[in-house]
């Protein structure tokens, strides 16, 4: 792999299915349902943040719109998971502080095309690390692309470390089961 490194598999230590099952369906934030709403959210929540790569993130949505990407397919539910990560992954990832942690749930047929996440300058200065944990069971049609690394039908519990927190990535689900991914940014001991 070029843009990420496999760290370990946590499936025997963490009951990811139970954690997912415990998340209420009403919890979390759905991505906007139109390009106008995406831009609105960027103006309000991302571009106004200082010391952040908001402008780079903004290019993601502009790129989707420019290629006439079907907006109905662009959908992910994001659920804050900082407390759970602190409680459950501190030892596994040698965590000192959880800076950001989010579950993303992608329903069948949905995707989050090529984009980069909002990363704070402070996180980079603190030497933070970013990990992705494949939370749902391996299913046909579940794909995560990080830079040039393709994780197809990844094994539940696999943890990968990003080489660059600002790396562009893509989530895709053309299977028939929900895809769950846990992304975390942490400082380590």
């Amino acid at each position: 792999m070029k843009n990420s490194t496999y760290i370990t598999n946590c499936a025997e230590l963490v009951d990811l299915d139970s954690i997912i099952d415990s998340i209420p369906e009403s919890k979390g934030l759905l991505t906007p349902k139109s390009y106008d709403l995406w831009m609105e959210r960027f103006d309000k929540d991302i571009l106004s943040i200082e010391k952040c790569n908001g402008a780079e993130c903004h290019k993601s949505v502009k790129g989707w719109q420019a290629s006439n990407m079907n907006i109905d397919a662009i959908s992910v539910r994001c659920i804050d998971a900082r407390d759970m990560v602190k409680d459950t992954f501190s030892e596994i990832l040698n965590i000192k502080e959880v800076l950001w942690a989010e579950f993303s749930q992608s329903e069948p047929g949905k995707m989050l095309p090529h984009h980069c996440d909002a990363i704070m300058d402070d996180w980079i200065e603190a030497g933070a690390k970013k990990y992705s944990i494949f939370a749902s069971k391996a299913e046909p049609g579940h794909v995560f692309i990080l830079g040039e690394d393709h994780y197809c039908q990844p094994t539940q519990g696999d943890i990968i470390e990003w080489h660059d927190m600002c790396e562009w990535h893509t989530g895709m689900n053309f299977g028939i089961k929900s895809k769950w991914l846990l992304n975390v940014v942490v400082t380590t001991n």
């Binding site: 989707w64 109905d72 069948p108 095309p113 049609g141 393709h150 893509t170 895709m172 053309f174």
Partner: protein, 172 residues
């Protein structure tokens, strides 16, 4: 295998044509055929949003020259039964399914069916096909995949920024 077909030229022609859309619209999706009904139910039960399912097919004689089918069939050593080019636009998918053909019972009588897929467009990040536990992406133009079984489960999605084209052939 050497690329004997000018796929760029073929795509120049079909890209300007509307083709024939396949969607989850029940009026479009012939659910009276048992296989279609099974796939349709699978997708509905999985909660697939009908607005994200669409691909567009192009057929020989109607949309591209019949000689493309003949040349390809000769290249892979089969007698052709049917062929088509599929196009998936950015943000659409053909979720997990197997192909249903109204003439399948006629085809299986003539011989052992063989199925091929050829990647005919320069690779674009975010375009992926799943077939028989393998994922195909970044394939050079002209790459041919022979299916283990003509009716294998498969799927494809286009999260890339250009249309995703594949050529398919069923033969024996």
């Amino acid at each position: 295998m050497k690329n004997l077909i000018d796929w760029e030229g073929v795509l120049d022609i079909v890209a300007s044509l509307p083709g024939h859309d396949v969607t989850m619209d029940p009026d479009n999706f012939n659910t009276s055929t048992p296989g279609y009904a099974e796939i349709y139910k699978l997708w509905v039960d999985a909660g697939v949003d009908p607005k994200v399912v669409k691909w567009t097919n192009y057929y020989p004689n109607k949309d591209f020259d019949q000689s493309i089918e003949s040349s390809f069939a000769e290249q892979v050593g089969v007698t052709p039964l049917r062929s088509w080019i599929s196009r998936i636009d950015p943000g659409y998918s053909a979720p997990y399914h197997y192909d249903v053909d109204d003439n399948e019972q006629e085809y299986v009588k003539v011989g052992k069916l063989k199925r091929f897929t050829c990647f005919i467009h320069p690779c674009v990040l975010g375009q992926i096909m799943y077939l028989e536990d393998k994922y195909y992406y970044n394939q050079p133009v002209g790459t041919i995949v022979e299916w283990s079984a003509y009716n294998s489960w498969h799927g494809a999605m286009n999260a890339g920024k250009e249309s995703y084209y594949l050529f398919h052939l069923l033969g024996y």
